[in-house]
Amino acid sequence: MNDIVTIKGLKYGLQLTFAKGASFEDIQANLLEKLESGNGFFLRGTTVFVPKDHFAEEQNEILRRMFHRHGMLFSTELKRPNLAPPQRDEKSSAKKFRESVEEAQKMMVINRTVRGGQEVKVNCSVLICGNVNPGAQIIAGGSIDVRGTCRGFVHAGAFGDKTAFVVADRLMPSQIRIADIIARAPDEPEQVSQAERAMIRDNMIIFEPVAR
């Protein structure tokens, strides 16, 4: 099943080749499965190249739509003349990335309890020496460390940093977001007695005990 479609990375995108004799339906199903599994190959904005004469025009159209739905470009031409100059683009995005990493490594210290209705919004990481009460919001570009009980709403890695985490002496937020992943408190609140850290693993937010 996995050999129906072969993916090869190119400088400007992904080259797909298909097993001989595979039906279009099988190929389509296989691609869709790969797309939905989110295995990291198919990033948004990637261009996908398909050999020019492999499919009929209407089949190409079906694939084009499928990739579009997943935020990708579809092409039967290996060269894309209308692509922006790739060199410069890569450089500026690399710079941006470096800046965002530097920003996330900074840390702001809040030396009080953040109460309901109050909001802390920072581009960097944040250390809160106090509680985060229900109704309070903490939104950070980096990670969030609460030296106290965290009962409010917390969002770490607000710009998409999936390595961001939230750690608290007692981590019981009403809702927690890391990058674009959201989790909420269970309807039956459970007692937390140990410091915990929340982070992303397998596209899910998990809590694990930590020693402090």
Binding site: R112, T113, R115, G116, G117, Q118, N131, N133, P134, G135
Partner: protein, 263 residues
């Protein structure tokens, strides 16, 4: 040294006005000269609780707008002669008094009074901002309900923004039986969220309703639990250290004692 206190809560109906009336009477009973200022313009109630409605001649809006001297608007309590009420207008709304006006008024009144207690309206809008402006100490009234505690938390945050650091808590309408069964927030639950010094735990008491309707604060009733709790709050405000009532035991032992004719 005179003190300006504000009694606030965020949420409505938790007993701000009742607390104001009782603490006011309690402080006056101890011989302090006390002024109560109602800032709940448009929804005034404090005069009713003190039984002074029909004695009102002028109100807070008349004073702050400069129509009369504040002394003319003060209503002296019929029983406690060093307790005065400065009622507010029932016709105007909250925008009629500004924070600056109230600060100026309190500065002037501080020369005359030992305690000035401001009854704050519910909410966090202009009425609240006005009421807290002159205060040195804020007493937050809450009930053991999640909504009241949440609003209390918000209010503490707002007070912090207004740089009012001396904030104390009064928990009102505690029902010991429910707390014991785990159906009501207990003090540790409340303290976990609010984490400020508590100076009062007032049990739920039917006498409060009777007292309110009669226009005589419950603190004047000698056999009322709530009245005793208010007396303790007053004592703590005067710097005495009084242990909190133990209402959990009271239910059972009081009945036992009554059975044996001890009470």
């Amino acid at each position: 040294m005179s003190q300006v206190l504000v009694i606030t809560s965020g949420k409505g109906g938790v007993g701000k006005t009742t607390t104001t009336a009782n603490i006011g009477v309690g402080l006056a009973m101890r011989g302090n000269k006390v002024a109560l200022i109602d800032t709940d313009t448009g929804l005034r109630n404090l005069d009713l609780l003190l039984g002074l409605e029909n004695r009102i001649l002028y109100d807070l809006v008349d004073v702050t707008s400069g129509r009369v001297q504040y002394k003319k608007a003060l209503v002296r309590h019929k029983k406690y002669e060093n307790l005065y009420l400065l009622p507010t207008s029932q016709i105007k709304d909250k925008s009629a008094v500004t924070p600056e006006q109230l600060v100026k008024l309190c500065e002037e009144m501080k020369k005359e009074f030992d305690f000035i207690i401001i009854d704050c309206p519910a909410g966090i809008e202009q009425g609240f901002q006005t009421a807290i402006a002159p205060a040195e100490t804020a007493l937050i009234v809450t009930t053991p309900e999640i909504s009241a505690v949440r609003d209390g938390d918000k209010i503490i945050g707002e007070l912090g923004r207004a740089e009012k650091e001396d904030v104390k808590l009064i928990v009102n309408r505690i029902r010991p039986q429910m707390v014991e069964k785990g159906d009501m927030l207990d003090m540790s639950d409340i303290d976990e969220i609010l984490s400020i010094a508590c100076i009062g735990q007032v049990p739920d008491d039917e006498n409060v309703v009777v007292a309110t309707n009669r226009g005589e604060p419950v603190i004047t009733m000698s056999d009322s639990m709530a009245g005793q709790a208010y007396k303790n709050i007053v004592a703590r405000l005067c710097g005495e250290s009084v242990p909190f009532l133990k209402p959990q035991k009271e239910g059972f032992f009081a009945r036992l004692k009554k059975l044996f004719g001890l009470m």
